[in-house]
Structure formats: C-alpha cells, structure tokens
Amino acid sequence: MSVNVKANTKSGKLTGFSEKTSDIILVVICAIILLIVAYPLYYVLIASVSNPYDVFAGKTFLLPSQFTLDGYKAVFADSSILTGLLNSFKYTIIGTVFSVTVLYLAAYPLSVKDLPGRKFFSLFFIITMYFGGGMVPTYLIVKQTGLINNMWALFLPGGVAVGNMIIVRNFFENSIPKEMIEAAEIDGASKWTTFIRIVVPLSRSIMAVMVVFSMVAYWNDWFTSMIYLPSPSKAPLPLVLRNILIKSSASASQASTISGGFAELNKMTEMIKFSSIIIAAVPMLIVYPFVQKYFEKGFMAGAVKG
C-alpha cells in the first residue's frame, strides 16, 4: 500500500498540471449545465414578482423589475386556484399515507425468505409492471367500482407501486439484521409486532424516500384526476392550472374580481401564470433535497436484484 501511495504522489507531481486543467474544465462545464437547468426556474421566479409589461419587453432577464406581489395576491384571491391548492394538499397527504402503507404491507411479507408462496406473490406483482389492461378497461373497472368523482379513484387503482416495492423489499432483505427479527420472535413477538416494532423503525431512511416519491407523484398528478374526477370542485392544482397555463383563459372568478377592463384582466392573467407556476413547483422542490442522500443508495439496493 505504501508503495502505491508513494507512486501516486509522484505521478501527482508529474501530471499535476493536467489534473488541474481538467478540474477547471470540469467546473466550467458543470457551471454551464447548472445555469441551463436553473435559469428557466429563476426566470419564472423573477417574472412572477415583476410588472408583466416589463417581462414582455424583456427587462427581467437578470433581476425583477418594478417589484410587486400582485400576481400572488391574485392567485390567493382566485377561488378556483385556492380550491385546487386545498384539494392537492388533501390528495397528497391521504394518498401518500395510503400508498406507502400498501407498499410496506406488500414489501415485508415478500422479504421473508421462508414464506411459502413468496415466489408466486412476487411474480403476481411484478407481472403488472410489464402488462396492464390499458386506459379504457381500467377506466371501466374504476367506473364499475363506483369511484368516479370519488377521491379514492386517485389512490386505489394505482395499487402497489411495484418498482418501489422491490426497492423496499431489497432494503428489508439486505439492511435489517435477521438476528434481530429472529430474537424478537423467539421472545414471543408475533410477525406483526416485529414488523411494527423492528422493521418499520429500522427502515426510516427508505421510508422517507418512498414518502417523497409518493408525495411528488400525487402533488404533480393531473391526468388521473382529469379522467376520474370530472367535477371541477374536485380538481387538484395542476388541473386548475391547465385552464390558465395551457388554454390561457382567465377563470370566471378572476374576471369578476377585476374592474380595470380587458387590458387589466390580460395583465393579471399573465402575472398569475408566473406566480401559479412557482406555487405549484416550490413545495416539492423544498422537500426532495432532504432525502437526496438516500436516492443513490435506494436505487443501488433496487438494482441488486431488480
């Protein structure tokens, strides 16, 4: 080893210049990539607090112009956006609790090596990763089970997120000491007790990742709601934003609250576009860095026996 280190420092001296140059080149390239990824988000952020006419005129490339929070005020004065925001919070919280619970209920039994039928159940779930009924047959079943316009249509048809379940199962198999489970069971703890008292507390890191994945999926979803929840009062935030961002139309409640005529309404609509993008994107952008360090580990564990 010592020979290795010596040789290494020696070669470090010899190739010191090229190492340094490559470091600089790497940093510069990374900085450019960072800029490309971050700038669009930054631009929307500063545009959301600027005068929309200045945004249109191209005066907000670097800094906000005529700072204003009118866009955000307008968003929170808009009853349809507010309803969407509340619906999104509700769906995200209930959906995440439900989905992560179902995920754990499926993953733990499948991680117990001597469970009779374990292979069968694994295959039973994995098949659904590759084959599905498709949009219409699934829609018809959701309809027949009476879930149209029912919030549970967002949670139940998703069933078990199989890819995530495999990651969790592999985590149980590889990272929870078997001896602890065996010891608990010798002491008379039931399978359920060991699951709740030992497995769940020891798997907090992977649970955090699954909670974030699930939150992101529910917070960002609009397609499922569009199909299964046709009632406007049940639309989550992204679906409400469709009218504003994609169809570019002002909502009725907006039109009624603004007195300044068409030009004023148009200006408001543009401002709301920017501020509503920020409101829809920020919650998840705040959440994911907390579990970022577990991403690689989780994917590695999932890839081992995917």
Binding site: N4, A7, N8, S11, G12, T15, S22, D23, L26, V27, I29, C30, I33, L34, I36, V37, A38, V102, A106, Y108, P109, P116, G117, F125, T128, G132, G133, G134, M135, V136, P137, T138, Y139, L140, I141, T145, P157, G159, V160, S190, N220, W222, F223, P238, L241, L245, I246, S248, I277, A280, M284, L285, Y288, P289, Q292, E296, K297, F299, M300, A303
Partner: protein, 312 residues
C-alpha cells in the same frame, strides 16, 4: 405445492411443516390481503377486460357478454386516415428522444464522477434533480410561456416573434429538449450509483501507469457502466411505442398535428372523450403487442451481443 398423498414418512413431515409454516405466517398473508385485492381488482380484471377489443362492448352486457366481432376494430384502425401518420410520429418521436436522452445522463454522470470538489458536486446534483420534481403540467406551462410569440423568453433573446407551437417542424425539438431539461439530471442516479461502486484502486493503478483522465474514463468507467447501459437500452427499446401521453397532449395544437399526432393521444381521445371503449382498447392493445415484440427482439440481440440472456 402438490397435494398428492405423501408416500414416505419424510414427505408427511415436510407437508406438516409446510402447513405449520403457512399457519405460523398467517399474519404475513393477512398483510398481503389489501395489496393483492387491489392488484386483482385494478390490474388483473382490466387485463381480462382487454377482450373487449374483440367485442362490441356495451356497458349493460359487460366484458364477457358483449357481442364477439373479431378483428373489426383493428381493421378500422388500420384504415383510419391518420393511421400511417400516427405510427410514424410515435416511432420517430420516441426514437429521437431515445437517441438524445440515452447518452446525455451517461456523459453527465461520467463528468460529475470526476468532480473532486464534493460540495460543488452535491449542489450540482441537487440542481440537476430539481426539474424531475415538477409537474408535467407546470413544465408545459413554462414551455408555452417561453415559446410565446409575444414576450416569450426565446423570442426575446432571438429578437423574433415565431409561434413555435404552431410549427410542426419544431414540435419534436421542443418535446425532446424539454424532456432532456427535465429528466437527464434524474437519469444520472443509477449511473452515479454504479460508478461509486467501482474499485478505487483501479484509478490509482491507472494513474501510476500514466493514464490521462480521458483514458481512465474510457478504460475504467465506461466498461463499469456497460451492463447497466445495455439494460437501460433494452428497457427503453421495449417502451419505444409508449410515448408519454401527457406532454404531447398538452403541447399539441391544431397546427402542429402533422408531427404531434401520436397513438397515445388517439387512445385517450377515442376512449375517454368519445367513449368508443372497444375501439380505443383495440388501438391500445395493438400498441402493446408491438412493444412486446420490440422488447423480445432487442433482448435477443443484446443477449447475443453480451452472451447473457438473463436480463429480463
């Protein structure tokens, strides 16, 4: 798990213990109850319902009671005026996406892996992941804002006033570029994880031998990533016909349909908007079958190339 009568005492023992093992684990089976029930109802029954692609589905008669009409829906799809256009758009959009979005995360991961300033590396990763956590709806809203002919960022910078979303020649570029912006960063995770498991003594040895940075990447990193790259490629090839519905639908305008008309959008419009349940199911099934064929072909080719057929 055969239930034939045991002949030897040994077999009695194992059968007893199997029974007891099942009884001992009843709580685990109880845990599986909800996930299994959900999967049967919302995954397996719809699979069974695919048969309406060969029937004239009537809600009152159900999946199995509706009249059997064979391949009529498929024939109708093949003779639809936009059939050729949809197939071509689906394949090309997917293929061009793959050509761009496959190598970029690999290049990013190889670069970041060489980064020695750990703080900077972590910040870069955090920022690169960010767009992945934003809703497709919001992304498409941003695309529309940036591409707007009046006051859109791109037109402001270029000093033009082009309405990009009405140009069918620009659609694929918009779709693919925004896709890379959103997901290339997220795509590096699996490669970063693989690279971090490479034995560092290899780098030391290569340095001693005077290998340059580029040579180290070429001879150590790339071979280390080879198997995961092939795996990813197979998975993408098997999804070649699965162009994401959401983004295409949100970016589609009447004027860019020449390139944005894809099968997934058609399935949605026919099935959910027009309630042509059987027809839409037939179109979806056609798409799935092509996908499976592609998956098998690519898997075979990759298997021959690497002498390892155990990928799937």
């Amino acid at each position: 798990m055969s239930k034939s009568k045991p002949v030897a005492a040994n077999a009695v023992m194992t059968q007893k213990s199997l029974k007891r093992r099942i009884l001992d684990n009843w709580q685990l089976y109880a845990m599986l109850l909800v996930p299994v029930a959900l999967t049967i109802i919302y995954k397996y029954i719809p699979m069974y319902g695919i048969q309406i692609a060969f029937r004239d589905y009537k809600a009152s008669r159900g999946f199995t009671g509706s009249e059997w009409i064979g391949l009529e829906w498929f024939q109708r799809f093949f003779s639809a005026p936009t059939f050729g256009r949809m197939i071509k758009n689906t394949v090309l959009l997917s293929l061009f996406s793959l050509l761009w979005s496959f190598p970029i995360p690999i290049i990013l991961a190889l670069m970041l892996n060489q980064m020695r300033f750990h703080r900077f590396k972590r910040v870069t990763q955090t920022v690169l992941y960010a767009p992945h956590f934003i809703s497709t709806m919001v992304i498409c809203g941003m695309i529309r804002i940036f591409l707007s002919p009046s006051g859109g960022l791109i037109n402001l910078i270029a000093g033009t006033s082009i309405d990009f979303l009405t140009e069918s020649s620009a659609f694929r570029t918009i779709y693919i570029a925004s896709g890379i912006w959103q997901d290339a960063g997220w795509g590096i995770i699996v490669y970063m994880a693989t690279l971090s498991s490479i034995d560092t003594s290899l780098y030391e040895a290569a340095k001693v031998d005077g290998a340059s940075l580029f040579q180290r990447i070429l001879h150590i990193d790339l071979p280390g990533l080879a198997s995961i790259m092939v795996l990813n490629l197979i998975m993408s090839a098997g999804n070649l016909m699965n162009v994401g519905f959401e983004k295409v639908w949100l970016l589609q305008t009447d004027l860019n349909k020449a390139t944005s008309d894809v099968i997934a959008v058609y399935v949605y419009q026919q099935g959910i908007e027009n309630a042509k349940y059987s027809y839409s199911t037939a179109v979806g099934l056609f798409n799935t079958v092509i996908n499976i064929i592609l998956l098998i072909i690519v898997n075979k080719i990759a298997g021959k190339m690497s002498d390892d057929t155990s990928f799937i």
